[in-house]
Amino acid sequence: MNSPSMQPILEISGLTKRYAGGLLALDNVDLSINRGELFALLGPNGAGKTTLIGAVCGLVRPTSGTIRAFSHDLATDWRSARSRIGLVPQELATDMFEPVERAVSYSRGLFGLAPDKARIEEILRSLSLWDKRNDRIMTLSGGMKRRVLIAKALAHEPDLLFLDEPTAGVDVELRRDMWKLIGAMRERGVTIILTTHYIEEAEEMADRVGIIRKGKILMVDDKAAMVSRLGTTEAHITLAEPLAEIPAQIAMPGVHLDEERRVLSYRGGDGSGKGKAEVAELTKALIRAGIDYTGIDISESSLEDIFVDLLEQREAESVA
């Protein structure tokens, strides 16, 4: 566990940011990112995602706390760390008059690397920008502009890449493209931290998911572990005949009858398969009790349900 490769690539501890206006955007955040992983920071608008990225990338001055990247303390040793970090910002901010290739070459030079035409070509090709290399950025579509920003962020070959809402305001097709792209970067060994408020995105791509709300990290876990810990199985069994009440033979926790007494519902389990097993038990019990049914609808809760549940639960707690 003590080999260097097991050291987290990024360690944030006790990070707090209070903006000049007094708003507490980050509240004592602890977060540790492993080398090579794809981490999704999931949270509603205004949760503090962009602020967190800004604090790591040098755009936001932390009020307190420490950030270490590649084992360098960013407060003192920011040069070494920043040269290995890339950032694709949320807003499409770039000099729109510049041609694509020049903009990307500039980024490489700015980060102190020698010009490398072949490398730039490779990056542009991988983002399908090569044909557009001489076009001014202003003439490109929104999706292409975002690719240019990604190319700029990759120009200095970072080991750690931040993507702030890479698919916000992008149509479904482009979003799929972007996912593929991000997957490819990750294949190359780049550690990726992306923020999103699309749960679908976190679910599709991430190894681990962190949920942030009002500047606090509510939960960080493997995506699978999170689903298994908080996930539930839901089943709806349509009965052939209405039931007056749930017979004792089939009564078990999580089973209830709807108002019209025609649908028997189950909600339980933990995402580990326990729920499915219980549903199987339930159907067997129905047969033993001689209760006929005409349909079974079964579903596992998604990250989305977990997310919504978690936020609602916290909302209730903070109101209470």
Binding site: L59, R61, P89, Y106
Partner: protein, 256 residues
């Protein structure tokens, strides 16, 4: 562990020059036009009735002042826009997230400003050549002095561009302070021509020292000692560097 990355500075420098050349037509035409107009009005129309000043023909006398007039205005506005626009559009994120400190940033931006000012100066001097015969007494010193002034005022513009949080503020200092002081700064007259107490009051105008410093490198004569001009310019440069170093250290108006 490096403390200065020459490649980063070079990239900034190159990009700033490209940005300048993108509007080359405007950058070149505007000084040519204004200088010509000044020569027509002051050199030809009024200059004919003016005596030589300090042994220099009036039309030639105004050249260093005109050069300074354009230089101060262009350098200040160019570098204030150069840093204000990225802040305004958000593109500054890249500079802030790069392993780049105040040294690389200034070498890049100020180096570009000095290059631009030499290009501008050459254009203005060539234009002047069309209207009047003149020879420069200390050409090397003139070039160095132009670069020094360009460096100082690009730093000054840089500070303005960081301080301003809207376009109005960006324009207000050049318009309300720089332009009037430049016009009153002895471009078109020798302050010895001014009646008391105006001659003394004029000495409180810092631009007087800049114009006269440059005039000294041109003709070897001026209203104030060259040492004072040089000292004040260097002092101004130092103050600007200190302010910018402080801004970068604290992140004022750059990092939230």
């Amino acid at each position: 562990m490096t403390f200065f990355n020459a490649r980063s500075a070079w990239s900034i420098y190159k990009r700033e020059l490209v940005r300048f050349l993108r509007t080359a037509f405007q950058s070149v035409l505007s000084p040519v036009l204004t200088t010509s107009l000044y020569f027509i009005v002051f050199g030809a129309a009024i200059g004919g009735r003016m005596p030589d000043l300090g042994g220099v023909n009036y039309a030639a006398f105004i050249i260093p002042g005109l050069l300074m007039l354009t230089l101060l205005g262009e350098t200040t506005s160019n570098s204030s826009f150069g840093i204000y626009m990225p802040r305004f559009t958000g593109t500054i994120y890249e500079l802030l997230s790069a392993p780049v400190g105040v040294a690389e940033t200034l070498v890049g931006f100020v180096g570009a400003a000095m290059t631009k000012s030499l290009i501008l100066a050459s254009i203005i001097l060539a234009t002047a050549m069309l209207f009047v015969d003149y020879t420069i007494a200390h050409p090397i010193l003139a070039i160095l002095y132009i670069m020094l002034v360009a460096a100082s005022f690009s730093l000054f513009g840089f500070i303005l561009g960081i301080w301003a949080d809207n376009f109005e503020k960006l324009g207000i200092i050049p318009m309300l302070i720089l332009t009037p002081l430049t016009f009153l700064g002895g471009t078109f007259y020798s302050i010895e021509m001014l009646p008391d107490p105006w001659g003394k009051i004029a000495l409180a105008n810092p631009i007087v020292y800049l114009v006269n410093g440059l005039r000294w490198t041109f003709y070897g004569t001026s209203d104030v000692a060259i040492g004072i001009s040089l000292g004040l310019t260097l002092g101004f440069l130092t103050i600007c560097v200190a302010i910018i170093a402080y801004i970068f250290k604290t992140g004022w108006r750059l990092r939230d």
